[in-house]
Amino acid sequence: MLAIKLAFKNLLGAGLRTWLNVTVLSFAFVLMIFYNGMIDGWNRQSRKDTQAWETGEGQFWQPEYDRYDPYTIQDSHGAMSEEIQSEIAKKNLVPVLIAQATAYPQGRMQGVTLKGIDPDQTILKLPTKALSKTNDSDYAMIGKRMATSLKMDVGDRLLIRWRDKNGTFDAREIEIISVFKCDVPSVDKGQIFLRLEVLQEMMGMENEATLLVAGENFKHRDFKNWVFRDQDFLLADMDKIIQAKKAGGTIIQALLLIIALIAIFDTQVLSIFRRQKEIGTYIALGLTRSQLVGIFTVEGGAHSILAALLGAVYGIPLFLWINKVGISMNYTQGMDIDLPIGEAIYPYYSLQLITISIILVVISATIVSYLPARKISKMKPTDALRGKLQ
């Protein structure tokens, strides 16, 4: 208790020097929480968006299907049993048929993926209602990225060519009936959505699908000839990328923290050098060397407590404000990024994140304070009292 009292008294007595150290350390502290909070917020948003737009509560895949291997698409289609049909009717599953095709926008040639989906589905956030319109035309829905890439808009007609299940070429014009905005690029890029029956008829694959997306109310069970892929599997790659980004950010945080810790270390060395008479007096008054090392270590470590408090003073209002307005990511909208990024990222500061950050800063500050303080144990009290250099 004495050590803590003395430590804070000395610290506050040191004035500007202490506050400079504390300010730098508080920057490191706030930045650490902010950066990790931003990545966690992005991760949560991405997972939520991907789940809402693409993966649902898991998917059943045709055994041959591999989303990263276009070679598998041709053979990845299978009939939907009565049991599956009944789940589809109850809106617990939504079937998606996938096929490859070539689009010819403005006389250019572009490889595309056709996705057939039920317009009445409610499991995914995709605005498929637009596809319910039936007329002489075949209507299609595309995302904003795809619309930009094709240079097309609502009402435009697009010629597509594909090969049916037997390998026979077919071609027809489709009309773009809707352009949707979606933060998940894998739902948008290179994809054209059609009514499921339309694509089934085009491909000659009646009652067939490539994958089935499960909804919240689906009670999990297995279906013959379909392989279940859970959330962890479907989001694994995204998690890895986000973790890698987090790891990249720790370098900046570590640099800032090191600068702050070097300042504390420097202060400690200077303080022990300049306060030799004080140290000698303490020993003369009966304090043991380890008690003295403790006082100086706590004094150095207390920088981190003050830094946490100072960080909280300006950090909490700053974080609350950022959480309200979000970090604008509009500049990424035109970029070719494969990760889901919304218009704004709202950081997420978990209790775990804050606790870990505090512990990390306090421990590091205490260690760098202890290292120079060890010198005290080697001091001769008489020389220390005289202020003699040792």
Partner: protein
């Protein structure tokens, strides 16, 4: 060269008794153009939006199942080789010193940026097995009288549901061909010109191949030299030849 193999497929016999005229015509075309082996040196002229590229190659073929092509120019493509054995296609790239087998999505890619896709080169089934043919009329093309033959698929797995072929009534060579989708949409058009007599047979030295859904002038194949029934060593049609 590859395209000419496809063109040669037009020369197959139609067995339907209803289409005797078409059969006779195609038989004669077959006799005129078919050879067991061919060695062709050709230029492929690819007309792009901004520029035109010429790719020179030497091709060896045996029937419709086996073919081997080596690209000789430009420098960028020099040394690239392609081997087709029945329904399999390999490409060797000297820059990576690797051979890859093309399948699925990659077969839909264009060959060297031309209007011809790899899967167009994979067609090797006889038209007689896949189509019902009949003569539907006559037309004059570039001053030559032609018969128009209409081919309709009789099997489910024909790449093109319909074809139309214009055949020179005197020289018995195809002068034009159109390929149609199931919906009736015209997909590709081939125009054969510069017909000359080579080794006693009429042969088109220039073939323009055009993807009708795409803008542009298509791709020209210009034959610089052709040898019919030349002896081709068997090792040419092996994967080992790709790396040599």
């Amino acid at each position: 060269m590859k395209f000419l193999i496809t063109t040669t497929l037009l020369l197959c016999t139609i067995t339907d008794s209803f289409a005797q005229d078409a059969k006779t015509i195609l038989d004669k075309v077959d006799k005129n153009m078919f050879s067991i082996t061919k060695i062709i040196e050709s230029d492929m002229v690819i007309y792009g939006r901004r520029n035109t590229r010429t790719v020179t190659s030497k091709g060896y073929s045996e029937g419709t199942d086996k073919s081997f092509t080596e690209y000789l120019a430009p420098e960028r493509e020099k040394g690239t080789k392609m081997l087709k054995l029945e329904d399999r296609l390999w490409i060797y790239s000297p820059s990576t010193d690797r051979t890859i087998q093309l399948s699925g999505h990659m077969l839909r890619q264009s060959v060297m940026g031309s209007d011809l896709s790899y899967e167009d080169m994979m067609e090797d089934r006889k038209l007689t097995e896949m189509y019902d043919a009949k003569v539907i009329g006559e037309e004059v093309i570039d001053g030559r009288n032609t018969w128009i033959l209409e081919l309709t698929a009789i099997v489910d797995d024909a790449a093109y549901h319909g074809r139309k072929i214009w055949i020179d009534t005197q020289r018995y060579i195809p002068l034009q061909e159109e390929l149609f989708a199931k919906s009736g949409q015209l997909l590709k058009k081939t125009v054969l010109t510069d017909v000359v007599k080579i080794e006693g047979r009429w042969y088109p030295r220039k073939v323009n191949y055009k993807d009708m859904l795409k803008d542009g002038k298509g791709t020209d194949f210009i034959i610089k030299d052709i040898q019919f029934d030349a002896k081709i060593p068997e090792y040419i049609f092996s994967k080992a030849a790709l790396k040599q």
